[in-house]
């Protein structure tokens, strides 16, 4: 800041535009509810050890006494009791509450992390490919084709065998998920960029001498935000699910580290005998997904000034 602006009458701290967006967002009850739930789960993830300490449980200790001889939980709702708030896991007797609470850590980290990275990569690559076109676009499109056609199943199996056990698994996971995850968002963003870049306002911006970076970030990106937000929020549960698949292939977080995806995968076959085993982690995943989607929808609306004026 120069000295003379200090003397100028104090300007509002924030540009009004973002204030408007925020106000719009805050006025959207559903979006706020979504944000609150997301925050709640983040809090749960952070405070997992504390919560478990309150419950007096941890996600690793077996409690075979809570199971029948065949390995099914004893008692109502999958063994719900004062001790085991959500009941216990069949076959092990581990505390389901602790598993769900701790699972939030892995799943949110991986789900949100992988989504963030893949959406970032996808948007960056898709946007530039659609914008620049030419050989760059062709190259990107071919790379996407290769990645999509690539037998990632055997790649991941191979990877699982190669990577040293010491490598931090969540990082590896986010990496693998992102590498295979960016392609679809890239193609979507590219497809829309192809049309958007011909809109007059983009040309007008180029005509005042805007560089590619400015065009991409200021002109195109805001008009892609709806797609990106919507796609990103759908991506989160898929990533959490994919994390489970990868952990079965030896690339994910190895058991017994709790993760929702794996719990849900394990619980599927118990759906008739011990439905609560599915309900708790499943509900957690569902709620988080729903919350992200609600929040995403709100964000989308807040970023799109026109939506409120839709006529009927």
């Amino acid at each position: 800041m120069s000295t003379d602006t200090q003397l100028a009458p104090p300007a509002p701290a924030r540009p009004k535009k973002s204030r408007n967006s925020w106000r719009r967002l805050l006025a959207d009850r559903w979006a706020v509810a979504g944000a609150v739930v997301v925050a709640f789960f983040l809090l749960v993830a952070v405070a997992a050890p504390l919560l478990c300490a309150i419950a007096g449980q941890d996600p690793y200790t077996y409690d075979l006494d809570a199971l029948t001889e065949a390995g099914a939980p004893i008692g109502f709702g999958g063994g719900i009791s004062a001790e085991h708030w959500f009941g216990v896991e069949p076959m092990t007797g581990r505390d389901l509450f602790a598993i769900v609470v701790h699972g939030a850590r892995t799943s949110l980290l991986v789900g949100v992390g992988a989504t963030a990275v893949s959406v970032f990569l996808g948007v960056l690559i898709g946007l530039t490919a659609g914008f620049y076109g030419g050989w760059y676009d062709r190259a990107v499109s071919r790379v996407i084709d290769v990645l999509l056609g690539f037998p990632w199943l055997i790649f991941v199996i191979a990877l699982g065998a190669i990577v040293p056990t010491s490598l931090p698994k969540p990082l590896l996971l986010v990496g693998v998920l992102a590498i295979f995850g960016w392609t679809s968002i890239a193609r979507i963003v590219r497809s829309q960029t192809l049309v958007l870049k011909r809109r007059t306002f983009v040309v007008a911006s180029a005509a005042v001498g805007a560089g590619p970076w400015h065009l991409l970030t200021r002109q195109l990106l805001p008009n892609l935000s709806a797609t990106i937000i919507v796609y990103a929020t759908i991506q989160i549960p898929s990533m959490i699910g994919a994390e489970a698949a990868l952990s079965f292939l030896g690339v994910g977080v190895p058991p017994p580290t709790p993760a929702w995806g794996r719990s849900i995968g394990d619980a599927v076959s118990w759906v008739q005998t011990d439905p609560m085993f599915l309900v708790f982690p499943g509900a957690a995943l569902f709620l988080v997904t729903l919350a992200f989607n609600l929040f995403g929808d709100g964000l989308r609306d807040a970023f799109d000034p026109r939506t409120r004026g839709l006529n009927r």
């Binding site: 535009k17 005042v208 001498g209 000034p305 004026g309």
Partner: protein
């Protein structure tokens, strides 16, 4: 068409009104605050009557019209009553509205570029309008589309029907819009600035067409326009709006002869006058050789080096790729043009003759097929070929300002207009955020927009307001070259006068060169040093403004000048007769 203009209103006075607007008020909610756009407007319109709605830009003309169709956004609150042949339209059943829209009321929207669906061909869209209200076969509809398109003066209806909106010029789109609006022979035509993008010859044709429709179908027209010449030519009665309030309502002759309200007087006073036309006895068909002006008449000519013009265009050819290779459209065909530094060159010509294309070529926005374009010594063709966003070109563009023909589409819908105006500032200056805001406010004020509009989004503004935003953005950096494509087409004459004043003063201060594309010959006369006339992609005449506008050589130029309407009903009637004689 020899009916005098005060007669129809008398003749129809006994009939019951077709459209009655009573106590109409419209308020918008903008970020929690209510903004009253229209206050208690009342007027009536009878069959066969043409009612002109004039007034300041942003005074609520378009909003009033949209209210009749029930097409205002959900943020609008409408009160009062609008009846069509006795049926209430405010808050009407969707079924009734559907039947009214496009059937009994045809609508020409203000901004044709955004009003047409980009993914369908013009033919499809017009045919759809026909088939919505009539049981006709596809083939018959297609034939009728061709018919309508040629009726609105499109020379190549076949191509236009097959074209998508982005492949047409502003005027061509506007005519397609008109074709669509009149396709089902409506009782009432709402024409929101129907001729802004049309050159005067075509405009005259359209006005003839409307007059003919009125006569044949007893169609009523709600004409929204800022062109007092058009009002004088077509309207029976005039309603003057200002800041959402109705300030005056009068038959056209009376209004022009004896305006009551002070604002109306100011408005009429601001109407630029065309020079007296001296038609040459024998117009030579040969175009004048384009010659660099011997002595640029601009006050800043002394500072400009004569051998280094701001713009040097040589044998420019621009072709647009058609869907098939043999369908290429040659939009500009061998045009040469120089603009000296500090000089204002006006480009006039028929709609679709390649004016906008030349403007875009100067900015390196369309690929040039042949010829060279140099702007302040930089070869734009080469720079553009290397990369659309090359550094060289970018530096060049920092010194250029462009006002696009259609302001609505040239503003990013996701950014506030403040941000849009600040864009060149943040790109090419290192002004701090506060300083930028200040400059934006200054610019807004310069184009007669209130500061509070800074945080509006484009869709929350009227057409003229958006156009002024585009102007503000173009002059934000005090450019060396301004390319202004119909910059005042959506502005009422009073605002236009002030904008032109602004132009002049800025131009005097900074001495930029300017390519001024316009169909408004009076404005051209006021502003331009030289005039170039374009016809079918070719330059047919070029010379000092005074010469070209007063003693045109090419018959097209003569026709153009003869077609320009004047803001006086009586004189305009004479001129029309004269023009028709000329054409015959």
């Amino acid at each position: 068409m020899t009916v005098s203009h005060s007669e129809p209103s008398l003749a129809t006075a006994t009939r019951s009104p077709l459209l009655a607007v009573t106590g109409l008020a419209v308020a918008f909610e903008v970020d929690g605050e209510t903004h009253q756009a229209v206050h208690e407007v009342t007027f009536e319109l009878r069959r066969g009557q043409v009612l002109a709605l004039v007034g300041e830009s942003g005074s609520g003309k378009s909003v009033t019209a949209m209210a009749a169709l029930g097409l205002l956004p959900a943020t609008a609150r409408v009160s009062g009553s609008i009846t069509l042949a006795g049926e209430e339209l405010v808050g009407a059943e969707p079924r009734l509205l559907r039947e009214v829209r496009g059937g009994r009321i045809g609508t020409i929207f203000q901004e044709p570029t955004t009003a047409l669906n980009p993914v369908f061909t013009i033919g499809d869209q017009v045919a759809e309008a026909i088939r919505t209200h009539r049981e006709v076969s596809r083939r018959a509809a297609a034939a009728r589309v061709r018919e309508l398109l040629s009726a609105v003066g499109l020379n190549d209806p076949e191509r236009v029907a097959r074209a998508h909106p982005h492949e047409l010029s502003g005027g061509q789109l506007q005519r397609a819009m008109i074709a669509m609006a009149i396709s089902s022979d409506p009782l009432l035509l709402i024409a929101d600035e129907p001729t802004t993008a049309l050159d005067v010859t075509v405009q005259a044709g359209i006005l003839d067409l409307l007059r003919d429709l009125r006569a044949r179908l007893d169609m009523a027209v709600l004409l929204i326009t800022h062109d007092m010449g058009v009002v004088a030519d077509l309207a029976d009665d005039v309603v003057v709006l200002r800041e959402g309030c109705l300030v005056e309502k009068a038959p056209v002759a009376q209004l022009f002869a004896d305006p009551r309200h002070e604002y109306t007087r100011a408005l009429l006073h601001a109407v630029p006058q065309l020079p007296e036309l001296r038609l040459p006895g024998a117009a030579s068909a040969e175009p004048r050789q384009p010659e660099p002006p011997a002595r640029p008449p601009s006050p800043h000519a002394e500072t400009a080096t004569i051998d280094e013009p701001a713009v040097r265009v040589r044998d420019l050819v621009v072709e647009y790729p058609g869907r098939r290779r043999d369908r290429r459209v040659r939009a500009v065909d061998g045009v040469s043009l120089d603009i000296a530094q500090g000089e204002v060159v006006a480009l006039v010509g028929e709609s679709g003759s390649g004016k906008s294309t030349i403007g875009r070529a100067l900015a390196g926005l369309v690929p040039v097929t042949a010829g060279t374009v140099q702007v302040v010594g930089v070869d734009v063709t080469r720079a553009a070929a290397r990369a659309l966003h090359g550094r060289e070109l970018r530096r060049l563009r920092a010194r250029m300002g462009i006002v696009f023909q259609d302001p609505a589409s040239s503003l990013n819908p996701r950014r506030t207009i403040g941000a849009s105006i600040a864009e060149p500032l943040s790109l090419h200056t290192d002004l701090a955020a506060d300083a930028q805001r200040e400059r934006v406010d200054e610019l807004l004020e310069a184009v007669e927009l209130p500061r509070r509009m800074r945080d509006r989004y484009p869709y929350e503004m009227s057409g003229g307001q958006r156009q002024r935003v585009a102007i503000a953005r173009a002059i934000a950096l005090d450019p060396a070259l301004l390319i202004a494509d119909e910059p005042t087409s959506a502005l009422d004459v009073s605002v236009q006068a002030r904008i032109l004043e602004l132009f002049r003063s800025v131009q005097q201060r900074f001495g930029f060169a300017c390519l001024f594309i316009s169909h408004d010959l009076a404005v051209v006369d006021q502003l331009a040093d030289r005039v170039a006339v374009l016809h079918n992609g070719r330059m047919v005449e070029q010379g000092p403004a005074a010469t070209v506008l007063r003693a045109p050589e090419h018959p097209y130029t003569s026709r153009l000048l003869a077609s320009a309407p004047v803001a006086d009903p009586a004189r305009q009637a004479q001129r029309r007769a004269a023009r028709q004689r000329l054409a015959a």
